[in-house]
Amino acid sequence: MQSAAATRPAPPRRDPLVQIVSRSVVLPQTNIDTDQIIPARFLSTTTREGLGRHAFHDWRWLADGSPNPDFPFNRPENAGRTILLAGCNFGCGSSREHAPWALRDLGLRAVVSSGIADIFRNNALKNGLLPVVLPEPVVQMLMRRPDDELEIDIATRELRTPDRQVFHFPLDDFARTCLLEGVDELGWLLARENEIRLYEERFHAR
């Protein structure tokens, strides 16, 4: 057993995510679904990489392939921004993890909304993309000030504005630890081997 374990590659650790400091890109639409984030026709890939150019594809690119100048991610002033402010129920629809892969590849580190769909939220956390849920009036206020440099602090679960407003957002202790320490969830599950084996024995006994 030990020798088999010794031949295993070391479990990959993710880069910790402690703080995000950025101005915002605003997509005020509600119910932005995963088909908008990454249309299904780009899911034929077998890797995680390179999906950023297809993020928001049908909003971002015109039919002739040129950039839609009205789309926020195409505006020069938004280049390099890592926080997305989006309308309620962001990420609804399919379970495709390609959605957070695409957003990370686009350069985003946080999505701030008054509602984030369950599966998207789960997938985002596994990919170092922070889901931040705040009350609708707060999100609306932030959307009016996209050029404010926001600070999102994972340890304190706070989003801070330059004029010293502080907003707390919910973040599970486990998710927080995973982000801060770069803990790998699969590694954590693999370490529950004894409990899993006991469960299986109990289950087969009944």
Binding site: T7, R8, P9, P11, P12, P28, Q29, T30, N31, D33, D35, Q36, P39, A40, R41, L43, S44, T45, T46, T47, R48, D58, A63, G87, C88, N89, C92, G93, S94, S95, R96, E97, G115, A117, D118, I119, N122, N123, K126, N127, D172, D173, F174, T177, E185, L186, W188, L189, L190, R192, E193, E195, I196, Y199, E200, F203
Partner: protein
């Protein structure tokens, strides 16, 4: 002893699968009984196993099929399947190689059990009451129709289940949706779930597991219950479920992979214990009277925009609603009834089962699809196709001028080359009407198989209750 406090079905399924209980510090470790995989959301998970030198913990509990990227046209003269792209073909091939390498049973081309993952697994009896079932696909909620806890997961979690047969989960809140009374002729499970989503909203189920209850649900057969549970995710719910009963057990008695003989009897006794206890409390309760549900379609670009076929499109109160209307090219106050239709799609994990195709054939028999309408009928699995062909359904569909295809997800997700053209209006029995879902620029009205077939014949959206004149008379009388 008064015993334990009453439990919901969700509580019972949850408790039976907890490997490590949840705490403030960490989510629960939940054991997974059945893991289904397909070609689109699994390749990166297998790569993860390889990168870590891991093998699947329980390869016998994972079953694979191919459905999303697969062509629905038969092989060409050269014997090759007409894939939409090399990437699609490569992806399907990679699933076959991964299954071979890791010892996972695959229902491949050539198997008479291949099909849309949420159609083939229940047919086989892989899906059973009391199970936890996951798949890298949000419509995994379908399997809840059997009294299973079934939900969609991402690709990282596909890797977690392959490697450990477990998932990290926080317990969800519960919502009971009770459908009282009886459905009118021409109104089916699809109309019920569209009505429900319209009522609670496209995010109304977020964080919740829904249990569908009440006389109208009890009266549904398994195929209708699957349609109902299938679209739970369209209300944002984690899962949807229906307590198992004799209808469930009759289905399973015929399913080849379900337990047999004495083992089946023992299983039934356990399955009967799964229903929510009398007096069990739900976090949210919703009551709907079946008689208020009319044939229902969507007018906008998410499934929450559901209205009755003869109801006016609501006013646009904000720029977001305006955007949906602009995309669809509709005006507030108009009805969907009468809208000229370009494409009709029958199929998908929502409505690609035998019952759905029988309903469609019932409408098309002796009638023609309107000349300007392209109609595609795609069985949900090889079994559905075989049974439908044994009943002559394919001949009715072809005689009416519609296309009869090979099984797969097809035009629901439009990954395989089956597309609705830009600007075209489609009536679809599928589950999502998002912008571009059925092809760039495509406009989708979600509807029941009856409504879809009746629209195909009329060339515009029409009220399927017209097919039941006795019902109208009884209403008038």
């Amino acid at each position: 002893m008064t015993g334990h406090p009453p439990k919901t079905m969700y509580d019972k399924l949850w408790d039976a699968h907890v490997v490590v209980p949840e705490s403030d510090d960490a989510p629960a470790v939940l054991y997974i009984d059945l893991h289904l995989i397909h070609e689109v959301t699994s390749p990166q998970a297998f790569d993860e196993l390889r990168a870590r030198g891991l093998r699947p913990r329980r390869p016998d509990l994972t079953k694979a099929t191919m459905d999303h990227s697969t062509p629905t046209l038969p092989p060409g003269p050269d014997g090759r399947l007409p894939y939409a792209s090399e990437a699609s073909e490569r992806q399907v091939g990679q699933l076959a190689r991964n299954c071979a390498e890791f010892g996972i049973e695959l229902f491949d081309f050539g198997s008479d059990r291949r099909g849309i993952v949420h159609v083939m697994a229940p047919e086989l009896g892989l899906t059973r009451p009391g199970m936890t079932i996951v798949c890298g696909d949000s419509h995994t909620s379908t399997h809840g129709a059997f009294g299973a806890l079934a939900f969609g997961i991402g690709t990282s979690e596909v890797g977690h289940v392959l490697a450990t047969q477990c998932l990290l989960q926080r317990k969800a809140r519960t919502m009971a949706i009770t459908i009282g009374g009886t459905l009118a002729p021409g109104v089916g499970a699809k109309d019920v779930i569209l009505h429900v989503i319209g009522k609670i909203g496209v995010g109304g189920g977020t964080g919740h597991v829904i249990e569908y209850r009440g006389p109208a649900v009890r009266a549904m057969d398994m195929e209708q219950r699957m349609t109902l549970c299938n679209m739970s995710i369209e209300a944002g719910a984690r899962a949807g479920m229906v307590a198992p009963d004799d209808t469930t057990f009759e289905w399973l008695a015929r399913a080849p992979r379900a337990p047999k003989g004495e083992a089946f009897e023992r299983a039934v006794a356990y399955w009967r214990s799964l229903a929510s206890d009398e007096g069990a409390e739900f976090d949210v309760e919703v009551h709907i009277d079946a008689s208020e549900i009319r044939p229902t379609l969507t007018w906008g670009t998410h499934p929450g925009t559901a209205i009755a076929v003869d109801a006016p499109i609501p006013p646009a109160n904000d720029p977001v609603a305006r955007k949906g209307l602009d995309y669809m090219g509709f005006q507030p106050g108009e009805t969907l009834k009468g809208k000229r239709v370009d494409v009709v799609f029958v199929g998908s994990c929502t409505n690609g089962r035998l019952r759905d195709l029988r309903e469609v054939a019932g409408v098309l028999r002796g009638r023609r699809v309107a000349p300007h309408v392209r109609m595609l009928v795609v069985p949900g699995s090889e079994q559905v196709k075989r049974q439908a062909e044994a009943e002559g359904i394919h001949e009715v569909i072809r005689a009416a001028g519609a296309e009869w295809r090979e099984p797969g997800c097809s035009m629901c997700i439009a990954m395989n080359g089956d597309l609705v053209g830009p600007g075209q209006l489609a009536v679809s029995t599928s589950n999502r009407n998002f912008e571009g879902r059925q092809g760039p620029g495509a406009r989708t009205l979600l509807a029941s198989p009856l409504t879809a077939a009746w629209a195909a014949v009329n060339g515009h959206v029409a009220d399927p209750r017209e097919l039941f004149p006795s019902h109208e008379q009884s209403e008038v009388a």
